[in-house]
Symmetry: C2
Subunit: 244 residues, 2 copies
Amino acid sequence: MAEQADVLRRTPLSRDRILRAAVTLADGTGIESLSMRNLAQELGVVPMALYKHVANKDELLDGMIDVVVGQIDPPVPGDDWKPTVRLRVLAARRMLGRHPWAALAIESRNTATPGVLAYLDSMVGVFRAAGFSVDLAHHVMHAMGSRILGFSQELFDDTRRAGRSGASEPQPAPTFPPEAAARFPHLAEIAVAASHDDGSVVGSGCDDQFEFEFALDLLLDGIERLHRQGCTPPPFSEFSGPRR
Amino acid sequence: MAEQADVLRRTPLSRDRILRAAVTLADGTGIESLSMRNLAQELGVVPMALYKHVANKDELLDGMIDVVVGQIDPPVPGDDWKPTVRLRVLAARRMLGRHPWAALAIESRNTATPGVLAYLDSMVGVFRAAGFSVDLAHHVMHAMGSRILGFSQELFDDTRRAGRSGASEPQPAPTFPPEAAARFPHLAEIAVAASHDDGSVVGSGCDDQFEFEFALDLLLDGIERLHRQGCTPPPFSEFSGPRR
DNA sequence: CTCCCAGGTGTACGCCGTACACCAATGGTG
DNA sequence: CACCATTGGTGTACGGCGTACACCTGGGAG
């Protein structure tokens, strides 16, 4: 059995095995404590051995991204674009929940991986199949990817923060320190209201899934309206409007 | 004058001077080539000197974030929430354009800085002042921060990518390699259409500002509709809807 | 004049990614 | 069968990183 363990330990390395190990390691300990040395040790191998299968750490990260993006359920074939898109987006979100490091990793790469491109492409395909013009499909994709505030709202979301750096302790519930409540009264008001109707005193205090679907449906409804009312004209705005 | 240079070189360090130098360094060479050693050299000082003014690199980054977030124009006082929000968001976007590293830096910190909180708080304040219920204001803030696709759309945006790692060469215009066009036909279709009506063969091929305002207005219009039609009910959806 | 101490310095440690030379097995070919 | 090229794991080493810690130093307070 020592022999078996031996055999097990030296199961030949492969790009795929490395990527999968890297993903589970990042899931477990956070991506910023994922090092080549770490990963090699996990695989019972010397660090430099990895370089026979991945060119460098950036390529490793790209590979990891494609592994997890590949886990997004494919679009269910259906004649109605709206539920199709909705389900797919929620599937993507579930994936990001399973791999909390992934969202940041994807955004910080400076070039899209094939997997990400495939995901986006199939999403465009759904819109096109539903009769969206190329232009409208284009705008819609941008709209669904935009971060309007410039950064996203996970400020009070514990679970997601956890994945940043080690999913260790559950972090003692920020709970909005009282002096912050004085400086940021409106945020405090919101936080209090949310934690009330959530029932729990501790915890992030707002139902992130609910908020996500709220935003998603807001966008989908707006998109539907645009699509029905003829086509491409961007929504009216009382300002001069986009340059171009 | 050697004396003057001497005096200039030893202008006393200060937290503020360090932060400003760090911001301009990150603006110039990208944030991932910003090191304590680098920054110290820029300031004509030994690396460890910085630690007399900032606790560590994370605190330095937090400080940098607050410097640039502080550059966002304050909300113009006005009775109408919609143009107020619109202007403010566009101001934030201009800031992010000036400091391409900032968006990622803000998202990757695992705790919000005071400056970011202040920005968000004042945004909530605008909605509340316009008569939005606490709940609706809450949902709206989430909606404006959400990334529906899980990651944002800057995949084809050169300028922003540049800030990631050194704003060096303009990068020879990806131009959608032909074999990728075969694998991602819908993306290719969009890219082609965009680069056509943009007139230029090279370049990112789509007017990012236009796309941003498109998404922004789509959301603002949806929000306005919600606000007018009574209040908090989340948009209808043909699915079971959020749990809670 | 003396003392203190804020603030700049020098050295050192343990991490990181990875270049490069090496070596062991393996399998195709004469 | 002998041979050798190829594949893939190993060992060592380098330069860069953040930063702990001991040290110095100059200027103001007593």
